[in-house]
Amino acid sequence: MTITQTKTKSPAPDERVAKRSPFQKLLGRPEVGALVGAIVLFIFFALVSPTFTQPGALATILYGSSTIGIMAVGVSLLMIGGEFDLSTGVAVITSALTASLFSWYFTTNVWVGVGLALVVSLSVGFINGWILIKTKLPSFIVTLATFLMLTGLNLGLTRLIGGSVSSPSISTMDGFASARAVFASSVSVGGVDIKITVFYWFALVAVATWVLMRTRVGNWIFAVGGDANAARAVGVPVKATKIGLFMAVGFCAWILGMHNLFAFDTVQSGEGVGNEFLYIIAAVIGGCLLTGGYGSAIGGAIGAFIFGMANKGIVYAQWNPDWFKFFLGLMLLLATIVNLIVKRRAELK
């Protein structure tokens, strides 16, 4: 019965296209390694810990995944475009601090700060991209410099303006309630409270996937990452594409930064250091090639979900969380090896 149904549903294939089984098609996707890993991990934790599959626990896992996943969307696109960003972790905090400190110092409505934070986040991305294009230095160096500078600015300016290492509380200011509703509320789905960041995450993944697969810009992103010279030679605006990608990362940092701010109402200025690697790990586990030109936004999302499952699953299984980092490293290694095999198959055949 099911067989006949699938037969009638499948569209008439071009007679010149050799038939590939759905399994073969799946193997050709960048995120296949991550998908297999995610399924194995899910079954594993479901068996080990009965609480793992409870709706409440799944909502918590999804929330944890979304805080990595939102950034992983931008970072995945950037990596497909052939570049790195090491400043993402602190850029999230920069965005949150900008909104917080500006509206506190000038006692404006917090939405003014939120708007300014967006401008600052996009500017950080633009500056990263612009320096990269102008100097032709590797993005590793350029964004490492940005990372260090932002880390210093976060600490220095917060102490200078607020007089403390954490930003002052803005919970009583105008617009805080509405901003919290937008960036840090929960939505009840079937009796389970799901954080709004999960929906932002899904929306960003959907938009990024559409852009990659179905728009000209997506074609350009693959091209500038795969071979920037070839792309330029056929008329692709390589510089604009790369700068745009860094700005997209900035946009993601703004969303996550606003969530961090309005979920807790203060921001620790020293936070965020090290998170940039989590975003990169999510993208790499999800099948994005470090060298660019290959990958998917969905892969990055699966990578983030693996991270979320491992992070929370260890807690639900009542293990020592010390093992988490070991596990993450192992996943990264396995995922990178799978990616390498994929790339060799594509290039050397």
Binding site: D14, A18, T215, N219, G226, D227, A230, G235, A346
Partner: protein, 305 residues
């Protein structure tokens, strides 16, 4: 040497376009030169490209072939002489500029992005879209169909345009790039050493596509260091050496042997034969070498270049 050179002074004034019979060349260079700092890469190059004609640019490594095509393709700007498109003087600031007036370039090494599917490569930079404003998306099915059809028209039998282009052979990749240029209405097609990295059979296939592009009315500029590839398909031959033109011939005025001898440089060839003689080579062998030196040097250039 009784090959008759084309008079470069009268070339650009008197010759008529073979199709429209108007006294205008599709593309013409007059005394074009280019220097990088104090290094003169190219000087005083004069040539013309017409519809349905193949102009071959021949020269050894470092002769200035790459510089010449980079100027025509818009990657570099010339700093002496004039470049005219249909009689209008132009200076391209980017490859996009050159593409917009119908000059398409197929590069030997950077023709395509290996990890991307064939259809994405085919339309790269000129994607078909449907929809409006921010919801403008690519017309994927149409693009795949056209890719398949255009490649079939060029005689490339592909099963799946979704496979990464890196999986195709070197010759097939060149052909995809040529088909792409033809489809996008190129008037001038520049081919940068399309046969350099290919075997004998694959080279033959690419040469056939060059003739097909010519028969479709394109002006083809074929860059090569192999006179054996250039002679069968070329209508005119521009020989470059150390950044200067050392000859510009019509096919009826030159033979393959003369072309080969010109390329290799008579004096150097003699010197090499002399050297081999001194090293104790048989006189037969030396004679043979004298004839084949050009080929051998090309073959090695091919392997390591």
């Amino acid at each position: 040497m009784n090959a008759k050179e084309i008079d470069q002074q009268t070339l650009l004034q008197n010759e008529k376009d073979p199709l429209t019979h108007t006294p205008v060349h599709l593309l013409s260079l007059d005394g074009v030169g280019k220097h990088y700092g104090n290094i003169i890469a190219l000087s005083e190059v004069t040539m013309a490209v017409d519809n349905g004609r193949v102009t071959c640019v021949l020269g050894d490594n470092g002769a200035g072939k790459s510089t010449l095509i980079k100027i025509i393709a818009g990657l570099h700007q010339h700093d002496a002489g004039t470049l005219k498109i249909m009689g209008q003087e132009r200076k391209f600031s980017s490859p996009r500029d050159a593409l917009d007036v119908g000059i398409a370039t197929v590069y030997q090494d950077l023709a395509v992005v290996p990890l991307m599917p064939i259809w994405r490569n085919f339309f790269l930079g000129s994607e078909l879209t449907s929809g409006f404003g921010p919801f403008k998306s690519m017309d994927v099915e149409k693009m795949k169909d056209i890719t398949l059809k255009e490649l079939a028209a060029m005689g490339i039998d592909l099963r799946d345009v979704e496979q990464p282009i890196g999986q195709l052979s070197g010759g097939e990749r060149q052909c995809v790039a040529i088909a792409r240029a033809v489809y996008f209405g190129a008037k001038v097609l520049i081919l940068d050493e399309p046969t350099a990295a290919l075997g004998v059979k694959q080279s033959g296939v690419v040469l056939r596509y060059i003739l097909q592009a010519r028969d479709r009315g394109l002006g083809v500029i074929f860059i090569t260091h192999n006179p054996h590839h250039a002679f069968p398909v070329g209508d005119r031959f521009l020989l470059l050496k150390r950044g200067k033109s050392i000859g510009y011939y019509d096919k009826k005025d030159i033979t393959l042997d003369e072309l080969t001898a010109q390329m290799a440089g008579g004096a150097e060839l003699a010197e090499l034969a002399h050297e081999l003689e001194q090293l104790g080579g048989h006189s037969d062998v030396v004679k043979e070498v004298q004839g084949e030196v050009a080929d051998v040097s090309q073959t090695t250039g091919k392997t390591y270049g």
